[in-house]
Amino acid sequence: MANAANAPRQKVVISTRVDKVSTGARLTSSFRATIAVIVALIMLIPVAWMAMTAFKTRPDAVAVPPKVFFEPSFEGFVSLLTSRRQLTNDEIAVYQQRTDLGWADQIALIRGQAITGPSAFPRQLLNSLIISGVSTVFSVGFGVLSAYAFSRFPVPGKDDLLFFILSQRMLPPVVVTIPIFLMYRQVGLHDTHIGMVLLYTAFNLSFSVWLLKGFIDEIPREYEEAAMVDGYTRLQAFRKIVLPQATTGIAATTVFSLIFSWNEYAFALMLTSDAARTAPPSIPLVLGTGGIEWAAIAAGSLAFLIPVVIITFLLRRHLLRGVTFGAIRKG
């Protein structure tokens, strides 16, 4: 009975070998896949709804019952990206005769408005990009260095220090916004890029040190030791061996840090007003004359979502790939 000898001794529930999976297990796995797809659809509905709203006209956006099929319009994006002025009836008549209007002007004109210039939103998005980008680079960079030190060297009072670092994260941001606001006004960091980068870096660092320490602890010391006996300094060994081995952890930490500083609302609302104002506190403020501009808000949210999606998509391979420590076998 060669076949029986080759067959799995127990029912294999999860296996990549199709020939060894029982029919029941195969049914279970397609059932699971179905559930996963349904859950994913449910989770994506609000996002899809937001994307649709961004392309609706004002009446379509607030229509009851909600419209699933509609004629797409860039009205929301025009309201988001421009500042406009309400025209009088006479002016509207004049404008309608003009032939030099761009497509955006025409969209504005439908609502009896004339574009007077760009809105603050593009600059706020840029501020968001700068502040979250730079603070992420700093918190991951410093995080990986201190995580390495905590992981490899006998730092005096290591456990207390690590707990202290973690405890920074226990304070809800709202509790410290007022004191920080007062301090920042004193030292001139209020409404500056540097101030926000500093704050987000400090806030993310506790988290990134802990997360990265976990990943670096997993990298066997022998790796660097082998490199050091092979003629490399510790710093070279760190760069050539530890960093590549920690890619997964670095990718995960980057995404988390980025999402935090990108989405952060409370600090941004209190500590920025104009020059360094980021997108999150501004999006809900895109109010038009006489009513909430749902399409513009949705368009802002969509524009806001895209960078995070791109970064996460680029790093997905590192995020999903399990941590593989090839040739070290623990005895």
Partner: protein, 360 residues
């Protein structure tokens, strides 16, 4: 190639000694095996030689040059780790080339050297694979290649065969020995397997509880163990150790039989200051000569056929079991009484209080 000298090298972790002060000179081209049970300080010793662990005290000299406080990268020593420590994000080829790139060697020469060492270890066909895709034996070969490619002053190997399957271990053992003979590189090899140590070492350093017990050739440590620990640890089974009393005609074993000793031993025993004549008699299984009319008696407890010979387990009068080699075709019913003699040249004596061997 180089000689290595350890002068009073010691390592403490907190208040505990991992290695007590150790003196050892390793000659150029010698294959030294550090042997001892787990936790006795072998790895720590190796790491101190490589510079990965700082000494608490003492000096390490490489070819007369004091390297005690040099960074590992400045010592020109290669280390083969217990679990290989191959870089999983690099191909086997890049792993092997890695030490050469540290020295900033030209690309062509790196390629040539990697090719040479790959041919030596017969791993040319796997050079483009990542370590994770290699079998244990091939990972071991890549790790050895990474050490060999630099032509370092000395090799340190920490239980390099420990992670391999038993059948493969013998093959690799022979390969390492062959490589050593071909390269004649100073090698310090750590193992807890005494058979491996006996097979490979020019000299064996036997350690236990952070202390060096004996340094000697395989023959020396086998036939002239310095103390009871070495006597028990070397050989399988270890040396037979029987409590005895020194008397006029020889030594009296439990149960009353008297084993005659040579004149030379009698003088040595008399002059060794034993407390009321108590001594430990040691002899290897091959010293046992079973024959009718032998001076000593025992009962056959069990016998194992080993193909080439039979290992007899003999029970002495006080219940102690000793092991003796007998001819392949010797037939002994279990429980039957046998008589045997001991080869007088193969008897050794130990002081039961100090546990040290008594010099003859």
């Amino acid at each position: 190639m180089a000689n290595i000298e350890l002068r009073g090298v010691e390592k403490k972790f907190g208040d505990v000694f991992a290695v007590k002060p150790l003196d050892l000179t390793i000659k150029d081209g010698e294959f030294i095996v550090l042997l001892g049970p787990s936790g006795c300080g072998k790895t720590t010793t190796l790491r101190m030689i490589s510079g990965l662990e700082a000494v608490t005290d003492g000096q390490i000299l490489l070819d007369g040059r004091d390297v005690t406080w040099l960074h590992p990268s400045e010592r020109d020593i290669a280390f083969v780790f217990q679990f290989f420590a191959l870089y999983s994000h690099m191909s086997a080829r890049d792993n092997i080339a890695f030490p050469l790139q540290a020295a900033g060697m030209a690309r062509d020469e790196v390629k040539q050297r990697v090719g040479q060492v790959a041919a030596l270890l017969r791993i040319e066909h796997i050079l483009d694979r990542k370590p994770g895709a290699l079998s244990g034996g091939d990972q071991q070969r890549v790790a050895l290649a990474r050490a060999l490619v630099r032509r370092p002053a000395a090799f340190l190997m920490d239980e390099p065969l420990g992670a391999l399957d038993a059948e493969f271990r013998e093959t690799m053992r022979a390969e390492i020995k062959k490589l050593h003979l071909a390269q004649h590189a100073t090698t310090v090899y750590v193992t807890h397997d005494q058979i491996e140590a006996m097979a490979m070492g020019d000299r064996i350093v036997i350690m236990s509880a952070a202390v060096v017990q004996q340094v000697g050739t395989p023959t020396e440590v086998y036939h002239n163990p310095a103390n009871l620990f070495v006597a028990r640890f070397i050989g399988s089974p270890g040396m037979n150790l029987v409590k005895a009393k020194v008397e006029a005609g020889g030594v009296r074993l439990p149960g009353g039989s008297l084993a005659p000793v040579s004149d030379r031993w009698r003088h040595a025993l008399e002059g060794s200051g034993l407390k009321d004549g108590s001594v430990v008699l040691g002899f290897r299984p091959e010293a046992v000569q079973v024959r009718d009319g032998g001076a000593l008696r025992a009962a056959v407890y069990a016998d194992d056929l080993h193909g080439g010979y039979t290992m007899l387990h003999l029970e002495l009068a006080d219940g102690e079991i000793i092991h003796g080699r007998a001819a392949r075709d010797a037939l002994n019913a279990l429980g039957s009484a046998v008589r045997f003699d001991l080869d007088p040249d193969m008897m050794r004596f130990f002081n039961p209080e100090t546990e040290m061997a008594i010099p003859s």
